[in-house]
């Protein structure tokens, strides 16, 4: 038996192919948006993995450094180390800023860590080993080992490269010694320092003539930073992190989150708005794609109503006619899906945000596309089946 769909597609293959590719670009955009969402989730998880902490200690009643400002004294970790079950305590400081040369500026999240901290995602070079002026950068920042990057007044040398370590907002992560991070957080330019110092020295209460040491002490206090954003704890085996976190909150008047709670904050709360927005985009794009496939299939059917009437008149069954329309719709969906998948595979790396293409999402998109095609073909099939064979007779 001659395949009506195959012959019809073959007869206007160019138009059919380009229509499929057009739909494919829409499917590609839909897959990309799903990939951006997956990227946000993966970035959040990668951040937690790199932190390698069982408990996050942050400023009381805050959600931690990624959601709210959090500040703790950098010697607070000593008290935490004294708690039963706490194996290790590490200070960390986070700040987001643009770094690089005048021609290549990259927005990054700086993470200040103790130089001896183990970094699991290093793919080239080495971890930080000195207390100052070294960087380990994520490969997505574009910097290479040996690059010298100026941040404010100091120059830093790139000594290592990590892979897949980004902030929850998708900026590549850059590790530097904690003391440098603390300095950068509060560092002012020379003019600002001069103005602030002058203001202090002009204040007779802070700079009395009979006590010249007082102003030095005040300046020392104001122009140095001894605060961190969070303290990361590793617990000993056999101890319950929930219990330890509860004890910390009870006795030390700070807030402590377990890894699960921090994951909920990072992925559940922080990305929630983004995911709802992306969900809306996905829903709209799905509807638009469905409408375009439906309209395309419908108009393809409309252009051959006379032929369909003739086919019916000479005895072609409704099944054969419906199968033709359905197969054409499915073919359109398959061309669309394949070209969309191909497009997204090539353009995803060009996006500034991390785009993660999961096989599950791809399969879901394929199934959804085929379902849309089946539903979209219904309108075309209905209009074809309504055509009376008598319309072929009598002009």
């Amino acid at each position: 038996m001659i395949s009506l769909a195959y012959r019809d597609i073959g007869n206007s293959f160019g138009r059919y192919l380009f229509t499929g590719i057009g739909i494919g670009l829409l499917i590609g955009v839909t897959l990309t948006i799903a990939g951006v969402f997956r990227g946000m989730v993966e970035d959040g998880r990668a951040l937690l993995k790199v932190a390698d902490a069982d408990i996050w200690v942050v400023q009381q009643n805050t959600l931690g450094p990624f959601a709210e400002p959090s500040s703790l004294p950098d010697d607070f970790y000593r008290g935490l180390l004294a708690l039963p079950g706490v194996d290790r305590a590490r200070n960390v400081a986070y700040l987001t800023l643009e770094i690089g040369s005048d021609t290549q500026r990259v927005r990054v999240m700086l993470q200040g860590i103790d130089p001896d901290t183990f970094l699991s995602n290093i793919i080239a070079g080495r971890p930080l080993s000195r207390s100052h002026y070294e960087l380990v950068v994520d490969q997505r920042s574009g910097f290479q080992i040996g690059d010298t990057i100026k941040i404010h007044r100091h120059e830093y040398r790139v000594v290592g490269i990590t892979e897949g370590v980004r902030s929850p907002s998708g900026d590549p992560m850059v590790f530097l010694p904690l003391k440098d991070a603390q300095e950068i957080q509060f560092l002012k330019d020379n003019d600002a320092l001069y103005r602030d110092r002058k203001k202090l020295r002009d204040n007779p209460q802070l700079n009395p003539p009979n006590n010249p040491q007082l102003i030095d002490a005040v300046e020392q206090s104001l122009f140095s930073n001894h605060r961190v954003n969070a303290i990361l704890l590793t617990t000993r085996a056999g101890f319950d992190p929930d219990q330890i976190a509860a004890d910390i909150e009870k006795w030390l008047r700070v807030t402590a989150y377990t890894k699960t709670q921090m994951e909920q904050i990072l992925i559940g709360n922080l990305i929630a708005t983004g995911s709802r927005q992306i969900g809306m985009f996905l829903a709209i794009l799905t509807i638009v794609t469905a409408a375009i496939i439906a309209l395309t299939v419908y108009s393809m059917t409309q252009t051959k109503l006379k032929e369909i009437a003739v086919l019916k008149l000479i005895g072609t069954s409704n099944f054969l006619i419906s199968r033709m329309i359905l197969l054409e719709a499915l073919g359109l969906g398959l061309i669309g899906f394949l070209s969309g998948k191909l497009a997204v595979t090539y353009w995803a790396p060009l996006f500034p945000k991390h785009v993660v293409l999961l096989m599950d999402d791809t399969l879901r998109a394929l199934v959804l596309t085929l379902i849309i095609c089946v539903l979209a073909s219904i309108a075309g099939i209905r209009s074809a089946l309504k055509v009376p064979p008598s319309s072929a007779i009598g002009g």
């Binding site: 038996m1 012959r7 003739v310 008149l313 000479i314 005895g315 069954s317 007779i393 009598g394």
Partner: protein
């Protein structure tokens, strides 16, 4: 058996007391009133009448496209309609018993010439080989075999009409209904098509009913049916 003898024994199509009314009550319009006609195998008859006289309705009734109200339709001795269709699947009835030729060829544009002809035997359940062989034979008979692989848009108007006639013959029907097949053609081509229909009727023993307004081809019919206000009148004439 020649055409005259066949006609004398069993008509290819016989219509008795066929009526069709559209609408109900005061708005009812009787389009066909007690139509009686018979056409022998191999015979080509003309069906004439002014616009609105019921020609298309009669053709649609004979083609099992719409339902007559009452009457009897017999194809080759087999009663297909007797105040109701004997066969529920009207599409299968058309496929197995009737060939159609339209004002325009209305060939399926996404098939080539052979496929347009072979499709009907395939619908009847013939194997691809049998169907293509039948198509090839018919295209040869109609002198378009050299265009067998051509797509429809590559065929001239005359070639398309020949392929359409081949399609109408593909299922070997006892009856072919032709709805103004010469309407879009100039007089010379119209005469050629009519000559072809007569030849095919002779070769296939099919009865061909040709609906026409074309004064040029009317002299080609030995027998004519004229429809006026739903009533069918038979006329005999000396064909050219």
């Amino acid at each position: 058996m020649n055409v005259e003898q066949q006609s004398a024994t069993m008509p290819a199509i016989q219509v008795e007391n066929l009526s069709k009314t559209f609408g109900k009550g005061e708005s009812a319009v009787t389009v066909l009133k007690d139509i009686n006609m018979q056409v022998a195998g191999g015979e080509v008859v003309g069906l004439l009448g002014p616009s609105g006289s019921g020609k298309t309705t009669l053709l649609q009734c004979l083609g099992a496209v719409i339902d007559p109200d009452v009457g009897r339709i017999t194809f080759g001795g087999e009663t297909l309609f007797n105040d109701g269709w004997k066969q529920q699947d009207r599409r299968a009835l058309r496929r197995d018993h009737i060939g159609f030729i339209f004002q325009r060829p209305y060939l399926i544009p996404f098939m080539d010439a052979t496929e347009n002809v072979a499709f009907l035997p395939m619908l009847q359940g013939k194997s691809n080989k049998q169907a293509y062989q039948r198509a090839h034979d018919l295209l040869e008979l109609l002198d378009v075999a050299h265009r067998a692989d051509a797509h429809i848009e590559q065929l001239s108007g005359g070639e398309q009409q020949r392929v359409a006639i081949a399609r109408a013959l593909a299922n070997n029907p006892p009856v072919i209904l032709a709805d103004e097949p010469t309407a879009p053609l100039d007089s010379q081509r119209a005469l050629t098509v009519m000559k072809l229909l007569h030849e095919m009727a002779q070769k296939s023993s099919a009865a061909i009913i040709v609906v026409t307004h074309d004064e040029n081809i009317i002299p080609l019919f030995k027998r004519l049916y004229r429809l006026r206000d739903g009533i069918l009148h038979e006329e005999l004439q000396q064909a050219d």
